[in-house]
Each structure stands twice: as structure tokens, then as C-alpha cells.
């Protein structure tokens, strides 16, 4: 069974870190493409939970219907969703990643592990907006201010300090360009 590159990465990711929710997989894939430069062919847009690409959601749905992944319900205090894991069929179908991809994936997984959906939403949104501002030349002299201001405007449930902290942390980790 040939999974294709992007699906293979998803399956490898879930083998390494079973139990990720769909939104967490989305954020990890976004960071893999945006921060680590792994070519996934995804067109990310900013959405309620942060960056979103329809291609990833379609891949997950296909992997589930092909029996490569399985899902189980989980519940947080105000949310019911699905946790994903690889099946035996998926383990057989998965192909080892290239060194560069493996390293990038492990790096991203280290970052993602233990973070709540809300935290991931914040970090991914900061990365998305920073890149958008850079590409369009809206960053002025660079620095955090325009990005922090925009993130606060579109996601007012995060405080300015929370966004600034996230920005500094990402900058320090060289997750921002």
C-alpha cells in the first residue's frame, strides 16, 4: 500500500506520538512545513483554531476510512473530539522518513507534547502571522510589535503578555523567520 509522502508523514508522526487529536496533528504539520521547511504541498489559511489546511483533514479522513488510522473519542471539559493512532495495517504501510524529515518531526513533536489545544493555537497563530507579515512586507523594521498587535486583534482571548511570551519563545527557538 503506497501512502504517499504527506500521509506517510502523518502516520509516522502518530506512530511516534499516538493519541494526538486532529487539531494537534494539523498544528504539527503546519509547523513542519512552515518552520522546518518540509514540503507538504499544503495551503494553510488562518481559521478559528489557527492555521488550517483542508488537505490535512482530507488525508486524516482517508487514512481513517482506509483503516490505516483508528480514532477514539476523548472529552475535555467543553469539547468532545477524536484521538488518533496508527493501526497494524498503518504500521505495515508506513515507510521510514528521510533523516531530515525524521529530525524535523521529532523536533516539532518535542515542542507539541504536553501543550494544550489553546497553547498550540497561540503558537501556531503567531508563526502564521509572523510569516504572513514577512511575506507581504508588513513587518516594518521587524520585531514583535506588529505581529503581537495583529494576533491580539484577531484572538482577543489571549492577553498581550501571553502573545509576547509566545513570540519571544518562538524567536529564541528560531521558529520564526
Amino acid at each position: 500500500m503506497n501512502l504517499g509522502n504527506r500521509k506517510n508523514i502523518i502516520v509516522n508522526m502518530l506512530q511516534k506520538n499516538p493519541g494526538m487529536g486532529k487539531t494537534a496533528v494539523m498544528k504539527a504539520m503546519f509547523m513542519l512545513q512552515q518552520v522546518k521547511g518540509i514540503s507538504l504541498g499544503c495551503d494553510f489559511s488562518i481559521y478559528t483554531y489557527g492555521p488550517y489546511a483542508a488537505e490535512i483533514m482530507e488525508d486524516i479522513d482517508e487514512l481513517l476510512s482506509e483503516g490505516v488510522l483508528s480514532s477514539e473519542i476523548y472529552q475535555s471539559h467543553n469539547y468532545i473530539g477524536y484521538k488518533l493512532k496508527t493501526t497494524d495495517k498503518g504500521s505495515k504501510a508506513a515507510v521510514g522518513l528521510k533523516n531530515k524529515e525524521t529530525q524535523a518531526m521529532e523536533n516539532i513533536l518535542d515542542f507539541v507534547r504536553g501543550k494544550t489545544a489553546k497553547e498550540l493555537e497561540l503558537y501556531a497563530t503567531v508563526i502564521y502571522i509572523d510569516n504572513l507579515y514577512l511575506k507581504n512586507g508588513w513587518s516594518g523594521n521587524g520585531g514583535a510589535e506588529p505581529v503581537v498587535k495583529k494576533v491580539h486583534e484577531i484572538k482577543p482571548h489571549f492577553t498581550g503578555d501571553q502573545i509576547k511570551d509566545a513570540y519571544s519563545q518562538l524567536k529564541e527557538m528560531k521558529y520564526l523567520q
Partner: protein, 432 residues
Amino acid sequence: MPAGTKWDKKYKVRDPVYGFVKLDAQEMEIVNSPYFQRLRRIKQLSLTDMVYPGANHTRFEHSLGVVQMASDMFDNIVSKETNCKRLGVGTDALKRIRKIIRLAALLHDMGHAPFSHAGEDTMPFLPEGHVRYEEGGKKRYEHEDYSIAAIKYVFKDYIEDHHLGEALGIKTEDIIGLLGDKNVKPTRTSLIWGGIISGQLDADRADYLLRDSLHLGVNYGNYDRNRLVNCITLGESEEESDCLLAIEEGGWHVAESLVIARYQMFSQVYFHPVRRAFDYHVTGATKEVLKSLGYEKGLFPEPLEGSIKEYLDLDDWVMYGAFKNGQGREHGRRILERKPYKCRKEWDMEVPDEEKERISSDLKKYQGFYDDGAVTKWYKLDKDITIYDETRNRIYPLSYKSKLVNVLPGLPKTTRLFITQEGNGANYEFGK
């Protein structure tokens, strides 16, 4: 302002789905503009009328319908006090958002190519440096790129200089931002309300399912529109971080019927084998026509300031005229004479290797094509609509509640081999 358009008059346009679509003077001015009128000459479903003869409705009435549907959804959402509190904005801001949504709904399909989606395979490839460019350069522009260019370069004055737009401070960026343009800064409005134009619960699909069913004479796409509009709401997202479009828990059945309606329409209508054959002929014929018009590679002009009007001058009628003149060559003739390649073999599973070899060898001997999966980029099932349980203040995916949606397959996996019915293909049988 065109003669007959009065500044503050409200207009009512007859519509087979809603009875009437209501428009204000600014919207009417846009509708009366030559480039919007072009949508009367772009059929909604390309050559689906070759299978369902009633499928002759156009992007024009669909665009008006999306305005009505989007407004009804918005009005219902903001009629609930809890939603207004959640949004945290006042009446003036709501008026402004409503207007942005209506204009985005009206203009969302401006950039469709002749023959709608079937014409998208003749859109040019994205240039290096484009925000969506990928290594290898295999990604093409999409009709949304043309819609955005049309709004920016053709409709700017209609949006910003009309007193109704001016009074609310509406800018072109507000409209294209809602339509997902990555060259404008996202706003809270575009994030929350973008989903009403494009998303799991958008007014676009909510309109086309009903409209297409009506014109085709099928019932697959029907669902309870009034119930849907009345159940749409704003829920609190995961960990209560923000608000998002959702369906009230009591209305999950209508969300289920919307998903099933869409699935049925895709499998029974949009991916009908004859329609797929004509999509192929449309691509071939369009390439030939474009070459004959001086577009060297047989691709449409790019969605740029200097070329968008050139693109908008092309419509189904121009193409049909060119087919009649022979500029569509072999594929054009097949369209005019209704002589499509015929589906000779269909697979619902992965094609075995030996059969793949046979397909490529047969396609060297016979005119035809292999339709790899009948999946196009415009097919997005997005089956998991968000449901909001207000009593417990929690959200969950529709598939958690609906056993039907949960087992609904993802993308259709059908692949098909099409071969000419003329000449040596007349008696063709796969494997013989």
C-alpha cells in the same frame, strides 16, 4: 449609477429557491454592471445538462441566492442575545459585518472560468514567489484567485464609492479578506465569518444543493433549509478560547441531512460519468480555443490587474461560438454533437497492476482517457460539522452524534476508463 437604480430603494428579485432575494441599491448597481452580468453566461454545472437537461441555471442566480442564504444565516445568529454577547460588538459593527458578508456572497463566484469548474484545468500555473507556489510548479491558479482579482480591479469603485458602502466604511480588503485573500491582513471578522462564505456550513453549498436539485429535477440535494438557518449559531471553541460557527444541538439532524445531501449530489450528479467525460472535452476544447485566440499555451490569462478584464470577457457563449467556428477542434465537435467518450470500465478499488498496463496500452490504440479517481480539488466533503450543546457549553463533531455521518466514506475512489464510441472504439470492450 445605471439608469433606473435609485439610491436608497430596496429591490426584490424573484428566485425559485427563496421566493425573493432582497438587494439594496449598491448591490443592485453591482448586479447591473457588465462584468456581473457575465455570470448569466456561465452555467452553474458546466455540461451537466447533457445528462440532466434541466441543468441550465447559471452562476448569476446562484450568486444572488448565496446573498440571501448568507444574510438569513447571519440574521439568525445575531438575533440571539448570547451570540451578540459572545461577539462583543454593537449594532453599528454588526451592520458593517452584515454588509461585508453580503458583498462577499454576491461577488464570491465572479472569477469562474467558462463552464465553471470544468474550465479550471486551463488556468495557468502559479508563478514562483506566489504565496501558494510549490516546488515543481504544479499548482494552478484557482477561480477564487480570479474572483479576488475581479473584486480588487473591477469592483473596487462599486464597493468603496457607493454611499451605502462609504457610510459603513467598507473597503475592498474587507471583502477579499473574507474570501481568504492572503495578501490582506486577516481580521476578527474574516476569521469568525469567513465560514459563512466558505466552510463546513457555508451559504454557498447550502444554496447550490437546493438550487441544483430544483433545476435538475432530483431530490438528492434537498434538506430542511428553514431548520438549518434557524439552528445555526456561535459556539465556544475548544477550551472556550473563541467563538465559531456551529449548529445548535437540537438541530443536529439537519446537519446530518446536509452532509448526506452533499454526498448524494456528488456521487449521483457531479461525478456522473457522462458529466466527467464532458469535463474532459471542455478542457480539451477550451485549450484549443485559447490557442486560436493567441494564448500560446492554451491557458487563460493570469488574474492580474492588466489581464483580469481580458479573462472576464470570456464566457460560455464565447466558447460555444468558437466551437461552432471549429476552434474547439475535435473536443469542440464532440460537445456540439453530444458525442462524448464513453465510460467502458469502472473500478471501485485500487486498479491491479496488470489492468493498469492494459489501460495505458489501450489508450495508445484508442482515443480516450483515464479518469483517475474522479476527485478534483473542488470536492471537499468536510463531513464534520461542529455541534454546540448550549446547556453543557460544549462542542463536538457531528460524527460523534450521527452514526450515518461517522460511517460515510471519505473521498469517492471510483476510477474510470473512457474510450471513443467512434471508429475503432465502436465495439471496444476492456480486456478483450
